[in-house]
Symmetry: C2
Subunit: 403 residues, 2 copies
DNA sequence: GCTCCTGTCTGTTAACTTTCCAGACGATTT
DNA sequence: AAATCGTCTGGAAAGTTAACAGACAGGAGC
């Protein structure tokens, strides 16, 4: 720790004011006073200083009460812009926002099946930027959420990415080069977790895990309010976890050495369903069918829950989190029924009584999470604000809407 | 974030000075200036202020160079005292230290087999305090390291504690009552991890896991330099982890559903050894014998390493830590050979190439870890210093030794 | 071997700067 | 008339730069 002169106080107070303005939208001077705890003259001086530095701007007047109309202030959004991108095998979904968090424009485009993905991606970003009146190289930061995880050593997508055409090269490096803007690539489940922490089920919780049972099982781990990425970007990559098959129905699996991913693959789940007399073309459909069917369906769901819970048990044994969130197509299809079955099975496997809930997936969690992630990077760079999401964030400010 | 007046500067600077003095032992004013970055008059004023508040004391003079002898300053150790205790089924090992980290006295006593453990414990603490010229109720904080983990809900020891006589009541509560001092009870493996982070193999690493393969498998998880305890104190309690038995030799285990602890129990390891033609009365002895034996011994060690690595793989899949440390009797007995076999097996199970090393267990890691833990609590209370061990700690100051 | 000078370091004092606070005052709006 | 906004004035708290007196080691000179 180092000591500081009065100059340090300035920095602390400026940052406090900027953070308050970002969080709580346009504010009058007196509101800002109360939020950051400075006196009237100090706050006024601070605002004029930040205004001449172009950091804050006047944003209308607040009337209504007695006395003269108060000046409203907000952070100058045009200081910097960011892009948040949800990249899937089928589509790319782009949002351009300014540093205040206001979304300027959105753009969605299909991705080609195999060749030319990079070109399609870059042109979609270019189009989105154009709609916002920007060039891609004016973006302060770009966050791309996609399946898989980037290996920090060589930048390649690892952990069995389901993104055809994106393998075998330094993905963030190539994007950075093509867009002439800083790019970071983040696992999609991690971004969902970020979003759940910011505006979903995990706002009151500091340690939680999002589990994504699917053809490619993923998980995101949040410890102490900070997303855990892992030494090689592989935290939460539990697809390869070796777990025993504890399903009651015999589906001929090698009971001594299945991976979590194998046990929850489409094929394996459909096989399990057939053993219970159910048939459908994929896991999601099977689960829906089982919910509609009677006792046989329930038995299948119990077996499925046992498989899921056995993997979740490993996570709970290692981390003992405050909360487990289930997300993804299968969990959504299974709804509260499957969720509760997993919770019940989990209780029999581990000592902690960790609550299991369905993730609150509304809207576009991956893109939203990417937006928050990019904003955190940009705000750290521009304002020196700490990027760790500690205090609850009250959601982005909508452009031009005074509160 | 809140803003601050000049008074906040005082607090920041005082804390910086106290931290520098705690870390780097007795310092002259000019050394302190350089460390915290204040000017000469400000530092001098700060020291006289802290001296009149009894927070720092003069600690001899530094001669040798030109000019007058410089005054040495250090934190007033007598401000508060703490106790660090290593509690095992057989013995209790107590150290009393002051807030500067100087150990005033040590005391070790045997524990009774079944009855009267509480009384024996309290009397041992009383004796240790007496040697230091204190009463137990003068202790600002007491940290007890022991096997198992305390359930925060009711204070009872959980996770199959191997501490006879300590079950079925609110352990920290009862100790607090008997000693009339604040007590916290911490898992012993957690304290070993803390010690490895402060002065062992993990000083350069922020995310690591200590694995303790034994009759009761434990693990300690450190994320971002902070020990993870878990929502119900159960983080790292991987004894109950469901893993398949991947040993080649058939020992008649239920391949579909063993727990990690069952596969590494004394009985199970001896059975595995017998399948390889080795016999001894406990796991530690078997491992030693296998090291001495030839190829058959090696085959057994490979099988043992497969069991250990399968459990470790679950941890790596969830956390992707920078480092895995093996500790405890079995790992010690197996030495580098077993360590390397585990590392090799682990590579076949997971994507990350997590290094596996033997813990650097010298001296008394549990008691030492308890000491650091108690000091962190005391320093937070007395000086308002943040308790998270972020910056590397350079070891406690030995009583009365000027540097 | 002794004395004295010099350079360097310690610790203190004084004057100045930066930052914030308390309170007063005029202007504005209901 | 009452409340509120924005600004102004004087002062308090904290730190910085600069200068000074005193202490001590080392070397020069005898």
């Amino acid at each position: 720790m180092r000591a500081g002169s009065p100059r340090l106080l300035r920095e602390i107070n400026d940052r406090a004011a900027i953070e308050a303005l970002l969080r709580n939208g346009p504010l009058t001077r007196s509101e800002l006073e109360r939020l950051i705890g400075l006196s009237k003259p100090a706050t006024a001086q601070l605002l004029t200083r930040l205004e001449t530095a172009d950091t804050v701007v006047r944003n209308g007047l607040r009337g209504g009460g007695r006395g003269p109309r108060a000046q409203l202030w907000s952070v100058n959004g045009t200081l910097a812009h960011i892009a948040a991108i949800d990249l899937t095998p089928e589509t790319v979904d782009i949002a351009i926002a300014d540093i205040s968090g206001a979304v300027l424009t959105e753009h969605k485009a299909p991705m080609p099946v195999k060749h030319g993905v990079l070109e399609a991606f870059v042109s979609a970003v270019g189009k989105a930027c154009g709609q916002a009146g920007l060039q891609p190289d004016q973006l302060l930061h770009v966050v791309v959420g996609c399946p898989g995880a980037v290996n920090p050593a060589n930048g390649e997508l690892a952990y069995a990415p389901h993104l055809p055409g994106w393998n075998g090269f330094d993905m963030p490096g190539r994007l950075r080069e093509q867009l002439a803007a800083p790019v970071s690539v983040e696992n999609d489940v991690n971004l969902v977790a970020l979003e759940e922490m910011v505006a979903g089920r995990a706002t009151e919780v500091r340690d939680f895990v999002v589990i994504w049972p699917a053809d490619l099982v993923g998980a995101a781990v949040v410890i102490n309010g900070v997303l855990l990425r892992g030494a090689s970007g592989g935290a939460g990559e539990i697809d390869g976890l070796m777990i025993p098959d504890r399903a009651c129905a015999d589906t001929d699996t090698d009971r001594s050495g299945g991976t979590f991913g194998e046990l929850l693959s489409n094929a394996s789940i459909c096989k399990l369903a057939r053993a219970h007399g159910l048939a459908a073309r994929n896991a999601q459909a099977v689960v829906r069918k089982a919910l509609a069917a009677g006792p046989a369906g329930r038995e299948f769901l119990v077996d499925l829950a046992r498989r899921i819970a056995t993997g979740v048990a490993s996570v709970v044994a290692v981390l003992d989190p405050e909360l487990i969130l289930l997300s993804g197509d299968i969990a959504q299809a299974g709804g509260a029924t499957l969720n509760d079955l997993v919770a019940a099975e989990l209780r029999q496997l581990v000592v902690p009584r960790t609550p299991v809930q369905l993730a609150l997936v509304t809207g576009k969690p991956v893109r939203s999470g990417a937006l928050h992630s990019a904003l955190a990077v940009a705000r750290e760079q521009v304002f020196g604000l700490p990027a760790a999401t500690t205090a609850p964030f009250r959601g982005p400010v909508v452009a031009g809407s005074p509160r």
